[in-house]
């Protein structure tokens, strides 16, 4: 828990120095192609980037602790509002993706681990390898064209104000494509977790006791394999909150992923720093929760 403080301090310093040393001058960008030094000086003054570094850093620290990142430099919209309004569409897509993909991957992994070495296992592994070799972009372009345009099963793109309409009308195609892409690597990985557990002594003992194979797999193997699976889901979880830029751009979903890339392209530092800090905090919280979950899954795990 206490590790979170130096981690956050490191994130703040890193963002601040990266922006000031590597990032473009926002005043030049906002002034446009035609500007004079007075205009640029005025914009720097309005943005506060004419202040000494230590002062800018102090303002940044205050912003982190008050969760008030001011307004976007390019759109003048409140940064907190940007985050709040964009995170909903992102979660509408990414939460179903995470849940369905994890459930499917775990279920399929148990099944293929159960029939390990068989033709079914090998065929599924070949399909997974092939699926993993294809770029996400190809899935999106082809899926949008086939399911949205040619077959007309889903709208090509769009988003509405109704959560249910989004979930039932606009979200299914991007969710489906994201699952297609994510399922193969997850399935391979989880299969390897299960195989590792299957070869453990306690499994052999369970079988020797005469337990049915179903009980061995579902009660013993699955439970022990859940720890690495949980770790993997935990690593993936923060990305659920920032979304998939490609999905959001191709399906016109007003989510956070799209907003982050736009902010980077516009050198919109208030948005960039807010998102980065938000993501860092989220990652730390998720890691903490995953640690707690280990204890729930496996009582042998100690917090010491």
């Amino acid at each position: 828990m206490w590790q979170m403080i130096p981690t956050l301090a490191g994130v703040i310093l890193l963002i601040f120095f990266l922006f000031n040393w590597v990032g473009g001058d926002p005043a030049q960008v906002l002034a446009g192609k035609i500007s004079n030094p007075e205009q640029i000086a005025n914009i720097r003054k309005q943005l506060g980037v004419d202040q000494p570094y230590w002062y800018q850093l102090w303002v940044f620290v205050q912003q982190v602790f008050t969760f008030d990142f001011g307004r976007s430099w390019s759109t003048n919209e409140e940064v907190s509002r940007i985050l709040l309004t964009r995170v909903g569409p992102t979660l509408t897509i990414m939460v179903p993706v995470l849940v369905i993909e994890t459930v499917l991957a775990v279920a399929l992994a148990v099944m293929v681990a159960y029939v390990r070495g068989s033709l079914t296992d090998r065929t599924i592994m070949v399909i997974c390898t092939t699926a993993m070799s294809i770029s996400f972009l190809v899935y999106i372009i082809f899926g949008q064209w086939l399911f949205g345009f040619i077959l007309g099963w889903f709208p090509v793109q769009g988003w509405s104000e109704s959560y249910w309409r989004n979930l039932t009308h606009y979200a299914p195609l991007p969710i489906m494509l994201a699952i297609f892409v994510g399922l193969a690597p997850a399935l391979r990985l989880y299969r390897s977790f299960f195989l590792e557990e299957i070869n453990q002594d306690y499994v052999r003992t369970a079988r020797a006791k005469g337990l049915p194979e179903k009980t061995v797999m579902m009660k013993h193997v699955l439970r022990n394999a859940l720890i690495p699976i949980l770790t993997n889901v935990g690593i993936y979880l923060p990305s659920v909150f920032v979304g998939s830029f490609l999905l959001e751009v191709f399906f016109s979903i007003p989510g956070l992923g799209r907003e982050i890339v736009t902010a980077v392209n516009r050198s919109d530092f208030p948005v960039i720093k807010a998102v980065t800090v938000y993501l860092a905090v989220l990652t730390m919280i998720v890691n903490l929760l995953v640690d707690v979950m280990y204890k729930l899954v496996d009582p042998r795990v100690s917090f010491k």
Binding site: Q28, T75, E77, N265
Partner: protein, 605 residues
């Protein structure tokens, strides 16, 4: 029965006094932006898409005749064209009475009439340091008395809106006057450019403060009724919009313009009851949404689909069969690659430096760029003025810009750019044959984007062919902009879209005193600057065009840029979308568009 018979004449009288049929709510016009909007405060924005929106919500004093080509300014909220006196420095304008802002809580339930003071206030907003207006450069140094107010505002970080400037004031409720420091006949175009002169009510700006960009309240034909940033915008007709009827003066030989006029003349504007604008950044969903009839109009066919939509620059047969119509218009814009004129290798005015630049110009194949990278969605630029701008000569041709690698090589040989060390690349000229070889390379700055890659490849291939070692400096646009303004780039490719339809909007990028600002190359040629200043004092006409021709000649001689292309906009309308005509500079076109509902109903079936 008795009551009905009593009320009948009253009903007839009311019907007679009511305005002609207004927008039909069932008519919805849907289309997509390829880039997200940023906001709707006219003085704060400069991006194309937000500018397109505000032009439909707010009103400038002047506007353009939508169908007239060449373009023609006409009064919008003014009773007549401005009275220009004192050698083109004093503009007196009278606002038409009876124009009202759309209702808004900022007006506290009262009808708010547009007055001369609104224009004075709105122009002053450009000078407000807190607004950080990217459009201020067009007014800075122009209006008598405003530079002093600006200096004081920058010092105090606050603009005194009540300070009266000699050159910007309301004479009475409906009359206002602008006095310029020197004649500028292009000023008339500023009066039709929404980012500069659209009327914003002071009560609205003060009521919403920092959030004015989220609450656009104008006197124009539409009002914003729904906005999900970077995703969807919905506009409905402004209920208080004045009586405005379709009219225009297309040229007699302009068959398409005449047909639109014949169909729509006399209709009450706006004609559609709702405009829905979506932000679809990727070309594929934008294209498929149009094909799927989810959009009524496709603005700028993406280059990726140009070969499918317009093979050989003709509308594809399948689209023609569906009744889709196409409009191809060269944009009033230009792409160019500049040479840093202060750079020790490519800059300078000595004969061998000029020769090097001219050889590079001759050695670069713009035609290939158009075919391969731009999918024929562009035409070669033969001069620095964009098509449609006053001063643009479509027939102008020069051997200085043609692609001729043999001539380029001969020119380099003649001025001593030879490969003296045998490494395969040309070296700098030597005074004596015994001098040490001086290798050189040229660094071309470009953004690391997919669209830039084929352009870079074309440059590299062309320069390799004439023996010039071209390398690339890859960085993001904001970083390159910073370096360019600091004069650190040897070459950089840029694009420029004119804010007003005059050659001045392009030559401003070559005027010496603008070095490091609009003039990225820092081209500084006294004769060119003298002619530029002379042209600014003249109205459009043969005398000014002669000066522009001479400026063009000087530009080609010194070659501070490699001219690129004028991009062509290919717009597609569904069979039921009527009346779209791309205007070179006018952005508020929604009120001129209609939806033919019987055709739409047939297509839906």
């Amino acid at each position: 029965m008795k009551l009905a018979s009593l009320l009948a004449p009253l009903a007839v009288a009311l019907a007679a006094t009511a305005p002609a049929a207004a927008a039909d709510n069932a008519k919805v016009f849907r289309y997509a932006f390829e880039v997200a909007e940023t906001g709707f405060d006219p003085v704060e924005i400069s991006d194309l898409y937000s500018s397109n929106v505000i032009a439909n919500i707010f009103d400038t004093p002047l506007t353009y005749d939508y169908l007239a080509r060449p373009i023609k300014l006409v009064p919008n909220t003014l009773a007549a064209m401005p009275e220009i006196t004192e050698n083109g420095t004093l503009f007196t304008m009278r606002v038409k009475p009876g124009i009202y802002f759309a209702d808004d809580p900022a007006f506290q339930g009262k009808k708010r009439e547009l007055t001369a003071e609104d224009y004075v206030y709105s122009i002053k907003r450009l000078f407000d340091p807190k607004k950080r207006s990217p459009n201020l450069y067009l007014f800075e140094g122009q209006i008598a008395g405003m530079d002093e107010i600006l200096a004081a505002a920058r010092k105090a970080n606050r603009l005194d809106y009540d300070a009266v400037a000699e050159g910007l004031r309301a004479l009475d409720r409906y009359t206002f006057q602008i006095r310029l420091k020197q004649p500028n006949y292009n000023f008339l175009y500023y009066l039709a450019y929404c980012n500069l002169t659209c009327a914003v009510a002071r009560e609205v700006a003060e009521h919403y403060g920092d959030r004015t960009a989220e609450h656009p309240v104008g006197t124009g034909p539409f009002r914003l009724t729904f906005w999900k940033r970077s995703s969807k915008m919905v506009f409905e007709p402004n209920p208080g919009y004045r009586e405005d009827y379709y009219n225009g003066t297309p040229a007699p030989d302009d068959a398409k313009g005449q047909a639109i006029l014949a169909k729509l003349k006399g209709k009450r504007l706006p004609m559609v009851g709702r405009v829905e604008v979506y932000v679809i950044e990727e070309p594929q969903p934008r294209w498929l949404a149009f094909l799927n009839n989810e959009m009524d109009f496709l603005e700028r066919v993406p280059n990726e689909f140009a070969n499918v939509a317009t093979p050989n620059n003709e509308l594809a047969p399948n689209l023609k069969k569906r009744g889709v119509t196409m409009e191809r218009t060269p944009g009033m814009e230009l792409t160019y690659s500049y040479f840093g004129m202060k750079d020790p290798v490519v800059g300078g005015y000595e004969p061998e430096k000029v020769a090097l630049r001219r050889a590079i110009v001759l050695g670069q194949d713009v035609g290939a760029e158009i075919r391969i990278a731009r999918k024929n969605q562009a035409i070669v630029a033969h001069g620095p003025i964009g098509p449609g701008a006053l001063g643009y000569d479509p027939d102008f041709r020069s051997t200085a810009t043609e692609y001729d690698p043999a001539k380029a090589k001969a020119l380099l040989d003649m001025y001593g750019y030879l490969d003296c060390n045998g490494d395969g690349w040309r070296d700098l000229p030597r005074k004596d044959a015994g001098d040490e070889c001086k290798p050189f390379s040229i660094e071309y700055a470009s953004a690391p984007s997919a669209t830039q890659k084929p352009l870079d490849e074309n440059w590299k291939k062309n320069m390799d062919a004439i023996g010039i070692n071209l390398t690339f400096k890859k960085a993001k646009w904001p970083d390159l902009l910073k370096e360019s303004k600091a004069g650190k780039l040897q070459m950089w490719g840029l694009g420029w879209s004119a804010a007003y339809p005059d050659a001045d909007a392009f030559f401003v990028m070559l005027y010496g005193p603008n070095g490091g600002q609009a003039n990225h190359s820092r081209f500084n040629q006294p004769e060119f600057d003298r002619l530029y200043e002379q042209a600014r004092r003249l109205p459009d006409g043969p005398e000014r065009n002669a000066i522009y021709r001479e400026m063009n000649r000087l530009f080609l001689v010194y070659a501070p840029w490699r001219l690129g292309v004028h991009r062509i906009y290919t717009d597609l309308s569904q069979p039921w979308t009527v009346g779209f005509r791309r205007h070179p500079v006018m952005r508020g076109f929604w009120k001129y568009v209609d939806i033919d509902q019987p055709v739409l109903a047939t297509a839906s079936r």
